[in-house]
């Protein structure tokens, strides 16, 4: 309370008011009181002002001035301290801003807590039915396509299609113009960022923007902080859902009851909880599913649907696929940079301790002439606070670039993540908070000790510091222990992530990645209908195969390393039952020769051949994992599996060794069906090509071959398999590199810490060692004396570090590939490295101690 009042007095208005009040009070009293009884009013006013805290403010200003002078005199200390805190604080701020945006931040909409969504996707007809039937619990329900890749004015961009009630439901107010409403058809709202980058913020209302080829009238700009409800996937432009067929020619999603592309965004009625709404909506969702069901659907499918439970998810912090994938890596990074900051603090703290010793005389004099201890502690803390604040200021400048660089490494399904990472009050507040903590961490203990020292022995110049010594030894040991334990954790992390990375890039993925290209073509924009894609794929394949430099080529619907997958429920002759996670499997539709192009190994049976066409019996090739799961008896060839809702019967003709379609995915239960036996309906196709020469030379030829077929075909990407795999490992690389960098830093600091501690010890104990030697101690005995220190400090540091590494291991569980975080080999390696570093750091002081001349050592006393 007192502090709050004091802070109030810092406001000029408040002080002026107080001043007026005081004058009025004096005048009122002078009206009736004896002037002699009133006394010296000028002095009274002066003393009263001191009570209000001007004196307090002035002493703070004096502290700051004094601290700045001190820093000016010690530029190297200042630079080291500010820089190490700046790196620590900047790295923490960068990770914090990512975590804040990806995991925590609430959407900038009105009352985000009453927003919900469902896990299911909706076709527009299903959405409309659901919206109408849910009016009891939802104030309103909107649908959004999420940002979709479309060309905007000829440039790649992201367009989000939303129903007319989307913006009114969210309560988003426009920056300029208006947002979309229910009546709109061919109008568009730009995101603030797109408006700035594409138009430079110039007035655009009423202008036309072309999306693919369709013109839209710009009616508004979204507010600066609004990026849609999908975190990490910001839209450039919002258009009405009704305009979907216009921007995606050849595909009418809004009337098709089989295109499940929309996400639901709904607002609960006041007083309705999520649980209650879920319970109310469950029968409605079941009813909608039953209506869609084919009349001859098997009984167990109906039974399963009846047991369905709809679960509404909170939408307060947005939809995010990032959240699941990156929450662990981000938390691990956060832990790492937090340790980095702790290291920086320990480092600055030991520097402060050393300075405190040097300043004993100065502080002693000040205490002797009557400065209060608390006053001097306050002044020393002011110095730490200034260092920390300067570090925070420098750290803030590296925060945004660092966060953007990290965000650039995060990609989802090959698309770079888009996040708004500007510095705002959240981040500024966080930085201020950690800077305050850092100031106390590195300043309080040295300040308290410096003043205690100074009281007792500061003025005895040249004293060996009999009072100072034990305290200094203890703090040096604590610092070295902390540095060592952090080193163990960070080095163990560095080893763990490096081993994991090595395995990720070197294990057998079932595919030969050498000179393998993955080409992604989207035929839908050129107007191809579902049924035409099959023949198109075969024509394209013929063109590609003819190219010089292409050794072999094929295609599949999902390819490898593309982040795409399709799944359904499956049964086999052996394993059957109602659909369950136990009976789920993934499938891919493949073109001719797919396995031989990839270099995948057939372990049994045969590959598809040209006889496996529409007229022949439907067949499948299954993965080894699929075979093990669905045919545990080991005989799969010639048996049958039953695929999907319709229980399509497929004869197993071959087993292929597991192909890892994602870097860190476990072997999948995957079955392949030949393209020739499917009805088409492949929207995008991944061609895989083995080139005869360097892949880069072939890429240009591929483009012209695709254009020769039809110039309107969109080539989404051409990458080598290695590039695709590498891209999914960017974050692993960053984490490994960061933990190595921090680990190296920690080890260096620990080595310096141990060296400093022992060197000081040996210097202080020179007479003692001299006496011991004079009394017959051997050089070995003296060495043991010094190394005992290393064993004590090292043992404590390693023990704490191992405990920390095991505790933090849980944080990275699942992030490391085919390794356990507590892997004894990793921990042992870290301990060995640190033991060697500790011994190396102790070598010089130990040798100095052992080579002391006893006579000179004694004379020095």
């Amino acid at each position: 309370m007192g502090l709050f009042r004091r802070l109030q007095y810092l406001l000029p208005g408040r002080r002026a008011a107080e001043e007026r009040e005081m004058r009025a009070e004096f005048e009122a009293l002078q009206e009736f009181a004896d002037p002699r009884d009133l006394g010296n009013l000028t002095l009274a006013a002066e003393n009263a002002r001191a009570v209000w805290g001007w004196a307090w403010l002035e002493s703070l200003a004096a502290d700051v001035r004094y601290a700045v002078r001190v820093f000016w005199r010690e530029p190297s200390f200042t630079a080291v301290a500010v820089l190490s805190l700046a790196l620590g604080i900047g790295a923490n701020a960068a990770i914090y801003s990512l975590i804040d945006r990806v995991l925590w931040r609430q959407l900038p909409v009105s009352d985000p807590d009453s927003l919900v969504t469902t896990e299911a996707s909706y076709s527009m007809p299903k959405y409309e039915r659901f919206r109408d039937l849910s009016r009891d619990v939802f104030a309103d329900a909107a649908a959004t396509s999420g940002p979709v890749d479309r060309d905007i004015e000829g440039q790649p961009g992201r367009v989000e299609m939303v129903t007319g009630n989307y913006f009114p439901l969210l309560g988003v107010q426009p920056h300029t113009g208006r947002m979309l409403g229910p009546e709109d058809e061919r109008v568009a709202v730009l995101s603030y960022r797109y408006w700035q980058s594409a138009y430079g913020g110039a007035p655009v209302l009423g202008q036309t923007v072309r999306i693919t080829k369709a013109p839209f009238t710009i009616v508004g700009i979204a507010p600066r902080e609004f990026f849609g409800v999908t975190i990490g996937n910001a839209a450039d432009v919002w258009i009405p859902m009704a305009a979907q067929p216009a921007v995606m020619p050849g595909r009418d999603w809004i009337h098709d009851s089989h295109s499940f592309f929309a996400n639901l965004v709904a607002r609960l009625r006041p007083g309705i909880t999520r649980e209650r709404a879920s319970a109310t909506l469950t029968p409605i969702a079941i009813q909608l599913e039953m209506e869609r069901l084919a009349p001859d659907a098997p009984a167990f499918v109906r039974k399963r649907m009846l047991s369905y439970k709809l679960e509404l998810k909170p939408l307060a912090s947005g939809l995010s696929s990032l959240r699941n994938r990156f929450s662990k890596p981000l938390r691990a990074l956060f832990a790492m940079v937090a340790m980095g900051l702790l290291l920086a603090c320990v480092n600055v703290m030991s520097l402060q301790f050393a300075r405190a010793d040097e300043r004993r005389r100065e502080l002693g004099v000040r205490l002797a002439i009557g400065a209060g201890r608390s006053r001097i502690v306050r002044q020393l803390l002011t110095e730490s606070a200034i260092v920390a604040l300067a570090g925070a200021a420098v750290g803030l400048t590296i925060c945004s670039p660092a966060a953007s660089a990290l965000a650039g490494l995060i990609s989802v399904s090959g698309q770079p993540v888009r996040l708004d990472l500007d510095i705002d009050w959240h981040i500024a507040g966080f930085v201020l908070a950690i800077a305050t903590v850092a100031a106390f961490l590195c300043g309080l203990a040295p300040a308290l000790r410096a003043t205690r020292l100074a009281v007792s022995g500061g003025l005895h110049q040249g004293s060996r510091g009999t009072t100072a010594a034990p305290a200094r030894r203890i703090t040096a040991r604590i610092a070295a222990t902390v540095q060592l334990s952090l080193s163990v954790v960070l080095i163990a992390g560095a080893f763990l992530f490096s081993f994991s990375l090595y395995r990720l890039t070197h294990y057998d993925t079932g595919v030969n990645r050498e000179r393998l290209l993955v080409l992604d073509v989207d035929p839908s924009e050129a107007g191809y209908k579902d049924a035409q894609t099959g023949p198109l794929n075969r024509r394209l394949l013929d063109r590609l195969r003819e190219l010089p430099g292409v050794a072999a080529a094929s295609y599949s619907a999902n390819g490898i390393y593309t982040g795409r997958s399709a799944g359904t429920s499956v049964a086999s002759d052996v394993v059957d039952g109602p659909p369950s996670p136990n009976l789920s499997a993934s499938y891919d539709r493949v073109g001719p020769g797919y396995f031989s192009v990839l270099g995948a190994r057939l372990v049994a049976g045969r590959d598809f051949d040209r006889h496996d066409d529409k007229t022949a019996e439907p067949v499948t090739v299954i993965s080894r994992e699929f075979a093990n799961h669905f045919f545990p008896d080991g005989n799969a060839i010639g048996r049958y599996i039953y695929s999907g809702k319709d229980r399509l019967r497929l004869r197993v003709i071959g087993i292929v060794d597991d192909i890892r379609r994602e870097a860190r995915r476990k072997p999948e239960r995957l079955y392949y069906i030949p393209d020739a036996q499917t009805a088409g309906g492949v929207f995008t196709t991944r061609f895989v090509l083995r080139t005869a020469s360097a892949p880069a030379q072939v890429a240009g030829l591929l483009r012209s071959a695709i254009r020769a077929e039809n110039p309107a075909l969109r080539i989404v990407s051409i990458d080598t398999a290695d590039q695709l795999l590498d891209r999914t490992l960017d974050l692993d690389r960053v984490i490994a590199a960061l933990s190595f960098a921090f680990g190296l830093l920690a080890v260096t600091l620990a080595a310096v810490g141990i060296y400093g501690m022992l060197a000081y010890d040996v210097a202080r104990r020179t007479p003692e060692i001299g006496i011991r030697m004079a009394l017959g101690a051997t050089r070995g005995g003296v060495l043991a004396l010094v190394f005992r220190e290393v064993v004590v400090v090292g043992g404590a540091g390693v023990a704490i570090g191992l405990a920390g590494a095991l505790a933090l291991g849980r944080l990275v569980e699942g992030m490391v590939f085919e390794l356990k975080p507590g892997d004894p080999r990793v921990l042992a390696a870290a301990v060995v490295v640190l033991a060697m570093v500790a011994i190396a750091a102790a070598l010089a002081p130990a040798r100095r101690a052992a080579s002391l001349d006893p006579m000179r050592a004694l004379r020095a006393e």
Partner: protein, 105 residues
């Protein structure tokens, strides 16, 4: 007689427990209650009043005084009341301790 250091705050609180008073009135009241032993000028009292106000022990309001003139009148807050109880207890201990040391004359 001069006041002992630190006792002024307690005396002000004690005076205000009898009822609200303006600053000059408090100075007078302390004089009267001490039967003239402590003659305190308003000027030396004023910073103490500000200090107690800042701590939230007393509050002040403009009111009309007994002579129909406006004056800033101070009154005790509940926190001040509690504080007075504490100070009184401490003071009693202090007096008893000093008396023990000094012995009976």
């Amino acid at each position: 007689m001069d006041l002992m250091q630190g006792t002024l705050d307690m005396l002000v609180l004690r005076t205000l427990i009898l009822g609200p008073l303006h600053g000059y009135g408090i100075a007078k009241a302390i004089g009267n209650l001490s039967e003239g032993a402590f003659e305190i000028e308003f000027g030396s009292l004023y910073p103490a009043l500000k200090r107690l106000e800042l701590k939230g022990w007393i509050g002040a309001k403009w009111e009309t005084s007994e002579r129909n003139r406006p004056a800033r009148v101070y009154r005790l807050n509940p926190a001040g009341r509690k504080q007075l109880v504490e100070e009184r207890a401490k003071w009693n201990q202090f007096v008893a301790a000093v008396a023990t040391v000094m012995g009976v004359e």
